[in-house]
Amino acid sequence: MTTLIINDKEYHLPLQGHETLLEVLRDQLGLTGTKTACQDAECGSCTVLINKKAVLSCLTLACAVAGEEITTIEGLAQGDQLHPLQQAFLDHGAVQCGFCTPGMILAAKALLDKNPKPTEEEIRQALDGNLCRCGGYLKIFDAVKQAGENLAKTKG
């Protein structure tokens, strides 16, 4: 059995070795917030955090990250309370079709955890691996900036 720690919860799974983390999250655990799109490391829809860093789950073997800290979009809200990034995306109308949103939010979370007051260039660089086919980048950048300010206020 392989132990995966996802959103602070342990899952013991009979993995064979060749399953990608993307497949395990969606097909075995029902965590479908992580999206399948290009499956070719081009779009960032499958972004998750591993040990607080944004990585692509379509390029990650699930067995290779056993015991490491995996965060998916399902792990951000606390009950009914949205994460400040999720709230900022709603407030700024940064969600259109929503397909890229989980990846965008997780990539932004990795940035804000390190740097709560990023410049626009730093935001653009942190999200450079996430494509939005609706083209709503400016609102997304605004939302990330706002979330950083809100988080900084909360931390006081």
């Binding site: 064979q16 070719d40 960032g44 944004a54 379509c58 691996g129």
Partner: protein, 284 residues
């Protein structure tokens, strides 16, 4: 399933990895995975044979980190491109590593990709070979008997980047006199694969170039040194005139001009700009 089945191995010690690598059939090494996993998907799509065994190096702590002892900088093979981008442990080379790392792909890829994987994946157009040739780096491989072998990076790429051994680290000698500049040309800002790249390292001594190394990457064959240009620069004064004349002193066989006639011209411009940046001190 995106991948064909294989047996997955995740050793915690380097010697265990070496033993597995030497004993298992149809084996491939997994470092960051950004090249290998996509390659395995492609092989499956094309119905081609895929490896029976994959050895992940991820849990081997001996292969992680950057350290400096006396004047030798050691970058372990599993150091990620993001770590190269942000590490202050690279000392006087941190700015040039930052500049080169930033050219490579996107943030999540840089978080995953490792320097070891980048050098061993045998892609001609990757960013690090030209930089490491200019810095006269050595690659350290571990053999079956666990003895380490150092190979100059220039020699490694001359031999088509082939090795049956596991890369453990890259070493460089720190030299505060080194001035170094790297420039690459891309088709557009959204395409991360460079068409060509030039890295020039030199020392300025009494307004002259000395100990100059020019490494060029034409995107279609492994990075090489241009000794014709190096000789010209080492006999020249440090001046804008030299930068302008440099494009007349190239080893033209390196520049892949047969396939793309624009490429040699782009190289001439890039070399001139790189030298100008070196002389004006605006290089990273």
């Amino acid at each position: 399933m995106l991948l064909n089945p294989f047996k997955f191995h995740s050793p915690q010690k380097l010697e265990e990895a070496v033993s597995l690598y030497n004993s298992l059939p149809g084996v491939r090494i997994l470092a960051g995975g950004t090249f290998l996993i996509n390659n395995l998907k492609l092989l499956k799509k094309k119905g081609l044979k895929t490896p029976e065994n994959i050895i992940s190096l991820r849990r081997i702590d001996e292969l992680k980190g950057i350290s400096c002892h006396k004047k030798e900088l050691s970058i372990k093979a599993l150091t990620s491109v993001s770590e190269l981008y942000s590490s202050l442990s690279l000392l006087e080379y941190s700015q040039i590593f930052k500049a080169v790392s930033r050219n490579l792909a996107t943030t999540p890829i840089r978080n995953m990709a490792t320097i070891g994987g980048n050098l061993m994946c045998r892609y001609c157009w990757t960013e690090f070979p030209a930089l490491l040739i200019a810095l006269k780096a050595n690659l350290h491989f571990i053999a079956t008997d666990l003895k380490e072998e150092a190979v100059p990076v220039e020699e490694f790429f001359k031999n088509s980047a082939k090795s049956e051994k596991i890369l453990t680290r890259v070493t460089l000698t720190l030299d505060p006199q080194n001035c170094i500049c790297y420039q690459s040309v891309r088709k557009s800002s959204s395409v991360d694969i460079p068409l060509l790249a030039v890295c020039i390292k030199t020392k300025f001594s009494k307004k002259r170039f000395s100990e100059t190394i020019v490494a060029v990457n034409n995107g279609t064959s492994f990075a090489r040194r241009d000794s014709v240009l190096e000789n010209f620069l080492n006999q020249s004064e440090c001046s804008i005139k030299t930068a302008d004349e440099s494009s007349q002193h190239l080893d033209t066989s390196l520049y892949d001009a047969s396939r793309d006639d624009y490429k040699e011209h782009m190289f001439r411009v890039t070399i001139k700009n790189t030298l100008r940046e070196l002389m004006t001190g605006r290089h990273p």
